[in-house]
């Protein structure tokens, strides 16, 4: 049995619902750290950033699931919805910390979204994710039909890309972290453009043109 086969077999026994619980628990734990003074002297910004970073990390994981299946036959599709919805919950929390704890003024919020490109981009990503979160249920898939639903959910690509660009845009100087995330997102999107290959197929001879 190959590694892929044993992983695929094992995942049958591991349900997806704990992802929601773990996500919520992690979110609550971070909030508690902020509340109890354990996020340093500037908990609002620190919490804002932590939620944003977790959101991006989960989004990247979501994006990795399809290529993982294509290229290694490991199928974790079953967890994709839970990951996507949890990521959205973190984006929402990120947004709420910004609006309710940080800015606390409707006019300021509007002004910032319009004036600061990195906020505009983050906000666009958030808006794109809303219909996706709202239709991440079986009822919506039936209602929209498989084709329609899949078409709508192609919005994940621009949304995640914008999220990563938002990160690159907001840093000063050249730290490597945001560029790593952007690189990962671009890489995972690019993998989808490469024609599908059978994992078991014999390796093409050196110099052969990839199909």
């Amino acid at each position: 049995m190959t590694v892929a086969q044993s992983i695929n077999r094992a995942q049958r026994h591991v349900p997806a619902w704990p992802i929601y619980l773990l996500g919520l628990a992690w979110m609550g734990w971070l909030f508690w750290l902020g509340l109890s003074g354990q996020l340093g002297p500037e908990p609002i910004n620190t919490l804002e950033r932590k939620y944003g970073l977790v959101a991006l990390q989960i989004l990247v994981a979501t994006l990795a699931i399809t290529p993982l299946r294509t290229w290694t036959n490991i199928s974790l599709i079953k967890y994709r919805r839970a990951l996507g919805v949890t990521a959205f919950a973190f984006v929402l929390a990120h947004f709420l910390v910004w609006t309710l704890l940080d800015l606390r003024s409707l006019s300021r919020i509007g002004e910032e979204i319009v004036k600061r490109p990195y906020i505009t981009i983050g906000f666009a990503a958030f808006v794109l994710l809303i219909p996706l979160a709202a239709t991440s249920n079986n009822w919506s898939i039936r209602k929209l039909g498989g084709m329609g639903w899949r078409k709508l959910h192609k919005l994940t690509y621009p949304a995640i890309l914008l999220g990563a660009v938002h990160f690159v845009w907001l840093v000063k100087g050249y730290p490597w972290e945001p560029f790593l995330y952007l690189g990962a997102v671009v890489g995972l999107l690019a993998l989808r453009l490469i024609p599908k290959r059978r994992p078991q197929a014999a390796r093409p001879p050196a110099g052969a043109v990839p199909r």
């Binding site: 340093g40 606390r104 490109p117 050249y174």
Partner: protein, 301 residues
Amino acid sequence: MARRWTNDLTPADVTPKAMWLNRRQLMAGLGGAAALSMAGGRAAVAQGLEPNTLEQITTYNNFYEFGTGKTDPAANAGAMVTDPWSIQVDGMVDRPGSYSLAELLDGLEVEERIYRFRCVEAWSMVVPWNGVELADVLDRVGVQSGAQYVAFETIVQPETMPGVRRGVIPFPYVEGLRLDEARHPLTLLATGIYGEPMPKPNGAPIRLVVPWKYGFKSIKSIVRITLTDTQPPTTWNALNRREYGFYSNVNPEVDHPRWSQASERRIGGGLFASRQDTLMFNGYEDEVASLYAGMDLRENY
């Protein structure tokens, strides 16, 4: 000539050491407001100049030589070698050379100055600095006529500085002031906080403090001071001219492309503290506005 500027606050308003060491416990034990007024003195509280605790001041810093995270300096700066320390003084001065701290500072009066500290990222603290007026140091080395600017440089110690090894921005970090800004009585060369030697995350052993400008102007761990007749390059301005001007005076009316400068978050308020309005020249308008008389502050941001 020290003491050309005095706080409205007296040294009695500075939290006694035993108090700030215990502030955390106090805060936990008594609840915020009571502890604050006890520890800081009524006058300070009334002015909104309640100093932050030493822990807050030393654990939330931008010091990119040690990494770009706010906690990186506290985590990494401990390894920085600050003894022995010498400062190269050159350019248009009468007595250029390599000075030890003692040669530069001995005999000058170290004062306590409680200043607001406003970062360009729209957060702020109140810090009780100890330092000498830069003007006194400049007099010691003798500024030649014709000099118009002072340039500063931070130490580069790749062995102890992960941010330098990674090259997160170009190093050495450089900053500069116009000579009249440098000579202003508010401008300090600071050597301590709360009466303790300057903590490493805050720029040990000696740093600049220019309280009416955004924090990045107040260069840390200085190893070189140069008097010149041309405006010196400054690190953030060179990186992004549109976002960081040479002057970078705190100004709530001139927006930074990334951060609104109209308001700020005071460090230490916890998760539910609201922003407060940013003051023109960070609250030092009476003292420094005349330096910029006739200048368009929007143009010269």
